[in-house]
Subunit: 197 residues, 2 copies
C-alpha cells in the first residue's frame, strides 16, 4: 500500500515535471492529482527537491531499461543497436506528448541556480554516454568506423546533438527534428571523416 | 530617464532570466537589483510575461547584430562566416558565465505549459535558421558543399546540435561542448555525405 503510494507519486510526478518543469510543479497539485494526503508525501520524501531527484532516478531506470534492451541485443550490429535506442526514445517522447527529454528540461531550468541538479543531470548524461561509448567501441572493433575515433567523444556528440533536437521537438510537438538528427549523426559515423580532425 | 529605466530593467532581466529561468525570477528581486520602484516596472511592462517577452526581443537584437557582423562579412567565405557567428556566440556565453543560450533555456522551461512562449521561441529559431540558410545557399553556389543539400535543413540541424551543446556547456560551465559540436558539424559539411540521403 505504502509502496503503491510512493510509486503513484513518482509516476504522476514524472509526467508533470516533464510538462511543467520543476518550478511549474506545485506539490499541492501533485497531491490533488494523485489523491494522496500531504503527510503521506512527506513520509516518503523529505522535500520537493528530494522528490524531484527521485523522479530523475525513475526516469533513469527507464533509460537504463531501454539501453539494456537495445545495446545488449547481439542480433543487430552495434551501430544499429545505438540508433534503435534513440528511435525507441523518440517513440517514448511521442507517447508522453512530445515534451522531449526530462534531463534536458530540468538541466536547462535548474542548472543555473542549483549545483545539486546540475551535478545530478550531468551525472545522468555521463552514465548514458559511457554505455553508448561501450557499444561504439564494439563497432570500432568490427571496423564500422575509424579506429582513431574516441568512442566517448563520439557518444558525447551524439547525445548532445540529440538533446538539442529534443528541445526542438518539444517546441514543434513533433518527432521530425529527432529523426533528422539521427540521420545526420549516423551518416556522419558511416562517412567517418566528421569525427576525426 | 524613463528610457534608461526601461533599458536597465531589460539588461538586468536578461542576465537574471539566463541564470534562473522564468519561474526562478521574482519581479521583486529584479526591482531590488535595479533600484526601480514597482510602479515604474508596471508603467513599462504589462506583466512579468510581457517583460520576459521583451527581454527575448533584446536577446534577439543581440543575435541579429552578431549575424549582421558575421554573415555579411564578404572578406570571408560563407562557411567561415557561419562558423564565426557561432564562435562569437560561444565567447558571449563565456562572458555571461557559461549559462548557454537563453532561447534554449526558456524554450525548455516554458514550452510545455505556455503556447505564447512556445511560439515566441520557435519563431526566434526560425528567424536564425533563415539567415544561416541564406549564407549556406551562398556556400552552395560556390560549390563548397553538395548542391542537392537543402540549406534550410542543414541550418536547422546545425542550430539544433548547437542548442544541445549549449545545454551541456551550461551543465559543465565550460565551452568545450560548443567547440566539439562546431568541429563536428563543419567537418560533416565539408565531407558532404552526412547531409544527403
Amino acid at each position: 500500500m505504502t509502496a503503491n503510494t510512493r510509486r503513484k507519486l513518482l509516476e504522476t510526478g514524472l509526467q508533470l515535471l516533464l510538462e511543467r518543469g520543476y518550478n511549474g510543479l506545485g506539490v499541492q497539485e501533485l497531491l490533488q492529482a494523485t489523491r494522496v494526503p500531504k503527510g503521506s508525501f512527506y513520509h516518503h520524501f523529505e522535500s520537493k527537491q528530494d522528490f524531484a531527484l527521485r523522479v530523475v532516478d525513475c526516469y533513469m531506470a527507464e533509460v537504463h531499461a531501454g539501453l539494456d534492451a537495445c545495446l545488449d541485443d547481439d542480433t543487430r550490429p552495434p551501430l544499429q543497436r545505438i540508433r534503435r535506442f534513440f528511435e525507441l526514445s523518440r517513440d517514448k517522447y511521442g507517447r508522453e506528448g512530445h515534451f522531449g527529454c526530462m534531463l534536458g528540461g530540468l538541466g536547462q531550468e535548474l542548472s543555473g541556480t542549483s549545483d545539486v541538479f546540475r551535478r545530478k543531470i550531468e551525472n545522468c548524461f555521463v552514465v548514458i554516454v559511457d554505455r553508448i561509448a561501450g557499444c561504439l567501441a564494439l563497432a570500432c572493433e568490427r571496423g564500422d568506423f575509424d579506429a582513431e575515433t574516441d568512442p566517448h567523444a563520439v557518444a558525447n556528440l551524439i547525445l548532445n546533438c540529440w538533446e538539442g533536437a529534443a528541445l526542438r521537438s518539444r517546441l514543434w510537438r513533433h518527432p521530425a527534428p529527432l529523426d533528422d538528427v539521427l540521420d545526420f549523426c549516423f551518416r556522419s559515423l558511416k562517412a567517418g571523416s566528421a569525427f576525426t580532425p
